[in-house]
Symmetry: C2
Subunit: 340 residues, 2 copies
C-alpha cells in the first residue's frame, strides 16, 4: 500500500512504495536486477495476460481487450506508486499536522503504463510519425480520464528511456500518474511565471522562446511548437518543446496541435538517437494542475515538455543545492543537434 509523506524542509512529497523491493539486503551492491529478456517481456504482443487488465488500447474495431493486435496499450502499473483501490475515496486519506513535522497519508491516485508500440526494440525516436501521433493522442486521452477523479490534483506524463534513466523494462513505454498532491516543482513554476507576468505583462516561456531565437538556440519549429536548448540548460543537450501560443494545459490541445507535438517529439528523439548514439533520457510534461480551471489562467504558466538526456551524473552539489554543473555549452549543443 503506497504511502505519501511530505519533507517539511523542502515541501517535496515522497511516495514510499515498497512492493518492488522489500528486503534491505536487496539493496546491497552485490545484487544486480536484470530486466526480463525479450522472450519474457510482459509488454510484448501475445503476453497481454502478464500485465494487469488493460484500461485502454488503440486497435482495430472489434478487438477484444487483453488480446493481441493493438498499436498502443495502457495498463495499470504492476507496482503502482499511486493506487485507487487502497482506500475508500473520502477526503481524510491525507493528514497534515500543522503543529508538527508529519504530513502523510495514502498515495491515492493512478499510475498507468502506456506501451508505445508492439515493437520491443524500437525506441520512440525510431517509430514512424503515425505511431508517435497515436502515443501523444493516448497521453491526452488518459490525462482526461485521470483528471476526472475528484481527488486527483495533478496529472503527470513522463517517459523514461534506458536503464540509466529508470526504465526497468526495455520495451518502450511511457507512464502517467494521477496524484492527490501538487508537486513542489509545478507550484514553483506557476508562482514564478505569474510574478513575471505581473511585472512584465508577458509570458515568461514566450520570452524564453524569443531569447532562444536571439541566441541561436532553436533546433526545430513547426506551426505550433518551438524546440530549443534553454539558455540555462542544466545538463548537456537538455531540450524543451514549448507552444508558440499561450496554453496553460496540455489536455486542451486540438488534434492538429497534438499532431504537431508528435512531430516535434519524434524529431527530438530521432536527433538524440542518431547524434548521441541512443542515449538514455527522461522527458516529462509540465502542465497546470487539474484543480485550476482550463483557459482561465492567462497570466503566467504555459504547459511545455522538457527532455533530460541522462549522459551526465548528478552529484553532491546538484543534490545538495540544486545548482547543476553543465559541461556542455547550450549554444554548441543546439548547433550540433540542428545539423542534419
Amino acid at each position: 500500500m503506497p504511502e505519501l509523506r511530505l519533507n517539511p524542509l523542502t515541501g517535496e512529497w515522497v511516495v514510499i512504495a515498497t512492493e518492488r523491493a522489500a528486503r534491505p539486503e536487496s539493496f546491497s551492491q552485490k545484487d544486480v536486477v536484470k530486466a526480463p529478456p525479450m522472450n519474457a517481456c510482459p509488454f510484448c504482443m501475445g503476453r497481454e495476460d502478464q500485465t494487469p487488465p488493460e484500461v485502454y488500447a488503440v486497435g482495430p474495431e472489434g478487438r477484444l481487450p487483453n488480446t493481441p493486435d493493438w498499436k498502443v496499450r495502457v495498463v495499470p502499473n504492476k507496482f503502482s506508486a499511486f493506487a485507487r483501490d487502497i482506500i475508500p475515496a473520502d477526503e481524510g486519506f491525507l493528514q497534515v499536522n500543522p503543529n508538527g513535522v508529519v504530513a502523510a497519508g495514502y498515495a491515492y491516485g493512478a499510475h498507468e503504463v502506456i506501451v508505445s508500440s508492439p515493437a520491443h526494440e524500437l525506441s520512440i525516436g525510431q517509430l514512424e510519425l503515425e505511431q508517435v501521433e497515436r502515443i501523444v493522442q493516448t497521453y491526452q486521452r488518459r490525462y482526461r480520464v485521470l483528471a476526472k477523479d475528484k481527488l486527483v490534483k495533478y496529472v503527470q506524463i513522463i517517459c523514461n528511456h534506458g536503464k540509466v534513466a529508470g526504465a526497468s523494462l526495455e520495451h518502450p513505454h511511457s507512464q502517467i500518474f494521477g496524484m492527490p498532491v501538487l508537486p513542489q516543482n509545478i507550484l514553483t513554476e506557476i508562482e514564478r511565471t505569474r510574478e513575471y507576468y505581473k511585472l512584465n505583462k508577458r509570458h515568461m516561456l514566450l520570452d524564453a522562446v524569443q531569447n532562444a531565437r536571439e541566441k541561436n538556440l532553436v533546433i526545430y519549429e513547426n506551426d505550433a511548437f518551438v524546440m530549443f536548448e534553454p539558455f540555462w540548460a542544466k545538463v548537456p543537450f537538455e531540450t524543451w518543446i514549448v507552444p508558440k501560443h499561450w496554453e496553460s494545459r496540455f489536455d486542451q490541445l486540438t488534434e492538429v496541435e497534438l499532431n504537431a507535438l508528435a512531430q516535434s517529439i519524434s524529431i527530438m528523439l530521432q536527433k538524440l538517437y542518431l547524434k548521441l548514439n541512443n542515449p538514455p533520457y527522461n522527458y516529462y510534461i509540465h502542465t497546470l494542475p487539474v484543480t485550476e480551471e482550463a483557459g482561465k489562467d492567462k497570466v503566467g504558466f504555459l504547459w511545455h515538455l522538457e527532455c533530460i538526456p541522462r549522459i551526465s551524473i548528478q552529484a553532491g552539489l546538484e543534490y545538495g543545492t540544486g545548482v547543476f554543473i553543465n559541461t556542455m555549452m547550450p549554444e554548441k549543443a543546439a548547433e550540433f543537434l540542428r545539423e542534419s
Copy 2:
C-alpha cells in the same frame, strides 16, 4: 571560464563549465571516460606536482607545500566550477534583467578539493576516527577561509563517493564550493523553517529529531548529534545527521562538536560500507548563508548533514515533479542500519 545562468522558471542556478568536455561528440554513448588508474592518480602521495598548488594541508611542522608527508591536502579543482581569477572582483560580474528571462554572469568563487587521506583505496568509512577528525576540521577551516571573500554568499561542502555518485577520481576526496549566489534549495529550507518557527515557536529540525525518536528511526547518537532516517526519506537508506542543540551555521562548531560530528560521519559511512557493500553515495552539509550573521538567527534554520546513497535511480517523475518514489520503508532501513 565558467558561467552562471539562472533558470527563471525554477529559480535554480546552473554553472556552464565546459573545460572538462568541449566537443559535442564526446557525449556520444560510444565513448566511456575512465578514471586514471592508481599508478597515475594525481591525489596520491608523491604526485603533488600533478594538481594545482595546494592551498592548505595537514602535515608535520616544517613540511614544505606540495611535498609528500601530508595527512589531508587541499587544492583548487583543476576544472573549477567557480573561480576567483576570472574577473576583477567588482560587483558587476552578475547581470539580472528584470524585464527578461536572462540572469547570467561569471561563476566567480572558489572550488577546492579536499583529499581525505593518502590512502588511494580506502573510503572515508574505512579510515580511523582520528583521520576523519582531520577531514572535518579541514572542512571547517576551509569554510572559514572561503567565507571571508565578500563576493561569496554561500559555502557548500560535499563528498561524492563512487563513480555513480559523480566521483571522477577514485581516490577519496571531498569538495568545497564558495559561490556568489544563494542556492534555491537553501533559500527554501530557510523560509520553511522560519515559517514553522513562527507558527510553533519550535525548530523544525529539532521536532524532526523528536519525530525520529518516536518512530524508531534513530540509528545512532552521541552528545552532540543524532543520526536517523528521515520519515520522508526520498531514497533507500537516506540518512541525516542533525545537531541536538540549535546552531544555524556549521562554521560555528567547537572542536568538541567537530569531533562528535567526525564520529557520527565515521559510523554512518562504516555502516553503509559494511551493510550495503560499499555503495556509492553523496553527502552534503546545509548551513546558513555566510551573508547572514552567525548566532543571530535563532528562529528557524539548523545546519545539518544529509547523505544520499546512490543505489536507486532518479527517473522522469523525480526530475519532472520532485516527487520521489522510495522503495524502502525508512523504518526498516533504520532497523537494518542499527543492527551491528
